[in-house]
Amino acid sequence: MSKLLDWSVFFQDLPGGGEEYWQLIVSGVYWTLGVSACAWLIALAVGSIVGTIRTTTEPWMVRLGNGWVELFRNIPLLVQMFLWYFVIPEFVPPLKAWIVGTDPVNGQFAAAVLCLGLFTSARVAEQVRAGIQSLSRGQRNAGMALGLTQPQVYRFVLLPMAFRIVIPPLTSETMNLIKNSSIALTIGLAELTFRSREMGEYTFHFFEAFSAATLIYIAIGMTANRVMAFVEKRVAVPGYIAGGGK
């Protein structure tokens, strides 16, 4: 029977030998960060496009954007993860062939990134839409009056303002994304939560393993928060309440 609390367990060797438990946890951190970073890029790119088209004057574009958001918002993330990993490849033969042929880790990573990226894109789209609609109507009208086309109005007038306004809500979406990446463990991706449970099961030191994971999640979240706060400050629009009062 092991002692109740024993923090030196992180420096014991894994059953296979060679590595110590802290290295197992660190390898999980890499996957958590890798999946989150890749998914974040997809979410930002797709979410910006979908959020923008929802504010245009083309009814079919607005409907398409709204449909996209409703689709990803109303199915649990876990079920979406299963759909991307188990179901969708069955309908796309080349994808199926790739998943069968490649290292399972590649398939899990791709499915997790796509799933989390598109799920978060729907949430980013909602924020971007709200950001654009919070601008006064005069901005769009002034752009049109200057002779800009609709794409130009978005490119030069609306989006530069809207993106700065939505940084605070995007910060919390970023933190949600990092937390949601833990759901990738259900398709076998060995990210942080997966590794901490694995360590607990090997050593029966669940408390120590989960404490480490908890502290690491808090640290990652705080770092993401600080980085976004820095960006927010750098790009703040002078004269707005959020602009730091200069």
């Binding site: 918002r73 759909l83 179901v87 833990s182 463990l185 259900t186 669940f206 908890t214």
Partner: protein, 227 residues
């Protein structure tokens, strides 16, 4: 690829059992979460520094770690903690289903706390002052004046949070509890019918959540007109 959606019809009673557990978990977690969340919100707004710091610490901790990790914390460590508390010979077996209910109540309390805190802070200070001027105690002014209004103002957000909770309950899959998703997943793996079962589950969740969020939107409209 041959699809056989008959598997859904064949296993409907089992899936229904899982679905009932999902609903039960959602209802208990939202009511329990709202109750403890309101208490937490009152603690966070308390002038007692110790109380508000403890409540804020709890809420921030719960909100900064993934739900999956919280489920693991409770699932693997609650038996040990209960054993320490009761001093029994061996850890009591409480099962995944009950663990999930306790976890969700504790986890959702943190989220409902933030909603109720915003609700309470949206009430003008004058309301509290007039309650005190009428001679009501703190407890009376909260129960009779502030909380009913805060609660009513926040109904749409509380309902939206409950829809999110309804979706999040699917995560009890990670501790092998048999909710709707868990039941479907067990059949899917037993019968090798992953495509049919997961598609069915996705469609059911989508239809339910879409309808519910549409209803909440309508309600929000009506409340907005009245006020």
């Amino acid at each position: 690829m041959n699809l056989d959606f008959e598997v859904v019809v064949r296993t409907l009673p089992y899936l229904w059992g899982g679905f009932l557990y999902t609903v039960q978990l959602t209802v208990i977690a939202s009511i329990g979460g709202l109750f403890f969340g309101t208490l937490l919100a009152l603690a966070r707004l308390s002038p007692l520094k110790v109380l508000s710091n403890v409540a804020a610490g709890y809420v921030n901790l719960m909100r900064s770690i993934p739900l999956v990790l919280v489920l693991f914390w409770f699932f693997f460590l609650m038996p040990t903690v209960l054993q320490l508390v009761t001093g029994g010979e061996r850890p009591p077996q409480i099962g995944a289903e009950r663990t999930a209910i306790i976890t969700f109540v504790m986890f959702e309390a943190a989220y409902f706390c933030e909603i109720m805190r915003a609700g309470i802070q949206s009430i003008p200070k004058g309301q509290v002052y007039s309650a005190y001027a009428l001679g009501l105690t703190y407890a009376q002014s909260m129960r009779l004046v502030v909380l009913p209004q805060a609660f009513r103002n926040m109904i749409p957000i509380l309902l939206t949070q409950t829809i999110i909770l309804f979706q999040d309950t699917s995560l009890v899959y990670v501790i092998s509890a048999t909710d709707f998703t868990g039941a479907a997943s067990k059949i899917a793996q037993r019968d090798g019918r992953l495509i049919e079962m997961y598609t069915f589950v996705a469609v059911v969740y989508f239809v339910l959540c879409y309808t519910l969020s549409y209803a909440v939107k309508r309600l929000q409209h009506r409340i907005a007109v009245i006020r």
